[in-house]
Structure formats: C-alpha cells, structure tokens
Symmetry: C2
DNA sequence: TTTAATTTTCAATTTTTATTGAAACTTATG
DNA sequence: CATAAGTTTCAATAAAAATTGAAAATTAAA
C-alpha cells in the first residue's frame, strides 16, 4: 500500500468514527489529515486535500482549535496561518470528552437534579421522582467518572486499565 | 410539581441527552415514557402520549426491543402488544454500549487493524502507519474497556468507581 | 375460512444538520 | 495610508436523518 491510499483510507475511517461520536465528519477528517501530516498545513491546503469549501474549512478548523485539538503555527516570512494537530491520542480523547461533557452531559444533569429535588404534589409524582432519582445518581456517577478521566494523565488510564482487566 | 409536568420535563431532558448519545430523540422518549410508566403501554398509547405517527412508533419500538431496552408483554384477554422498559439503568447503559460498540467501534477497528498491518510501500507510508498504529492501540484499549463494562454487573462498576475516585 | 384487529413496510415529505461561496471584514506590508 | 493577502461571516443550498401516513401483510377470533 502506498502513502496516498493509506492516507485516504484512514481519513475515511476516522471520519466515519468521528461522525458517530459527536464530531462531524469534516471536523474528524481535518483532524485526521493533520494527524498524519508531517508538517502543519494551511487552510488552502486543507481545502484542497479534502475538497471542501473555504467556509466549511474555516468553521471546522475554528471549532477544532477551540477544542484544543489543533494549534496555530506561524512560519517566519509567511503571513498565512498553519495548523498542526494534537497528536497524543490520549490527550485528544480527553479534550473531546471535555467538550462533550460540557455541551451534553452537564445541561442534562442540571435538569435531572432539578426534577429530583422538586417538591412532589402527589404520590404518582413521588414515585416518578424516585425513578428519576436513580437515573440522576447514575448519570452523576458517569459524569464524575468522565471528569476524572478528563483531568487524568496517560498513566492513570493505563493503571486503571490494568486494574480493570485483572 | 405535578406528575404531568415532571413526566414531560423528564421526557424532554432524556430525549435530548439520548439524541446526543447515539439514540434518536423519539427512541429515547419512548424509553423515557415507559421508564416512568407504572404499567406497560400499547403502541397506540405511546403514539398518543408522544404525538408521533404509527410508523415512527413502530420502528423505534422495534429497535428498542432489538436492543433489549423494551420487552413485549401480553395481557390475558387482550390481543394488543404491551411494552415495558428495562428499568435498571445500569443494564440500560450496558445494552446501549453493546449496540454502539457493535455498530460503530467494531467496524472502525477492523479498518484500523487492516491499515496497521498492511505492507508499507515506502518510508512515508511506514511513518503514517506508525501513527495509525498508536491510534489503533488506543482504540483497541477503549474497545476492550467498553467490552469489560458490557459484560460486567452493577457491583463491578461501583468497585471501579470507588477505585478510580481514590 | 373469512373477517377485523393489529402490526409492518416504505415511498414521499418534513425537519435538521452540514456545506457552499461570495461578500465583508481584518491585518500585515509596501 | 493604501492595498492586497488572508480570514471570517452568513444567507442560500444541498445532503442526511427523521417522520408521516396510507397501503400491504400478518394474526387471532368468529
């Protein structure tokens, strides 16, 4: 297999996987492209390699940058911005987890907590509340676990993994 | 708060959360409705309570049932099928994890493994392959972790949680 | 077996989400 | 300061995903 084929197959696979895990396809592909790239690329180059529009490239690069998955790099004597990917896959996964927690889990938790602690008017409500309480507790635990992961370092997870598999 | 309001707010929150975690909004809402329901409901009742069409109800109930999140119940003297939700939230999360692993993670892993082990034509390819290898190893580890979770029981996770938080 | 209740299917439609591309804006450099 | 290179915005468009509803298929009771 040559590097072009490998590159293209990886972009496709990573784009699909990303698409299913809260990152849109293009965003995942931009990240994948830069993960495999030897050197930082410009917006122009990303547009050309992925055959996407300027607007699309710009907006996804921005989100990736906000998430901490890409870094801007400046080359001496060049006015253009270059982008390079965060390549430590452990860190990548923590950064993604952090964003998803923030955008999806936290708001849901907030509502669940509210429902759990609301004053129940009647017996039927109280029963429902009990069930919601269980769900809240579980979700809260999942959230804490995720948070612990987000705050952790690579070693921590390796230890956890060893522990779990034993 | 009365039971009607609690119910509706929970349906909304759970629908949104589900929507972000690989379950579509309606599917999550059907499950939520049955989670809070005292007794099993028919398709008709689900359609009415969520104001959705027959086709939509049928197709999402089917998927939920295939995933193991709903069970069919038959009432003596009634021809209709009733549905009840799996209410153990631990089990629910394991069942969802199982499906997502099957549908999303496994296919991606298969491709990554293929790319990792393909014969590299040149140095550039070999370098990319190394990077892909790292990603494969990580993804594989995530997959194994997920699998361990899927196979586990509620106690296991509680122990893990205690372990992690210490 | 016929009939009516119930469930399933699926093409058409609606809704949601992602993408384009041109214009507006910003910023370095002569 | 003027200009051109580079970046961002956003209304319009396209693509993808969810939903509808009516017709077909299935099933249980008469």
């Amino acid at each position: 297999m040559d590097s072009k084929e490998l590159n293209s197959r990886f972009l496709h696979a990573w784009g699909t996987l990303g698409g299913n895990w809260g990152i849109n396809r293009t965003m995942a592909q931009i990240h994948a492209l830069l993960l495999l790239s030897e050197s930082p690329l410009t917006t122009e180059e990303i547009m050309a390699k992925l055959r996407i529009s300027r607007g699309n490239a710009n907006m996804n690069i921005r989100t990736l940058t906000e998430w901490g998955l890409l870094n801007k790099v400046h080359k001496a004597g060049d006015r253009k911005e270059f982008f390079e990917a965060e390549k430590d896959i452990w860190k990548v996964s923590r950064l993604i987890a952090r964003e998803r927690r923030k955008r999806e889990l936290e708001p849901a938790l907030k509502i669940l907590e509210e429902l759990k602690t609301a004053t129940a008017d009647d017996e039927a409500t109280r029963k429902m509340q009990e069930q919601i309480g269980t769900i809240y507790d579980f979700t809260k635990m999942a959230d804490s676990t995720l948070d612990k992961f987000i705050q952790s370092n690579n070693t921590w997870f390796l230890k956890l993994f060893a522990n779990m598999m034993s």
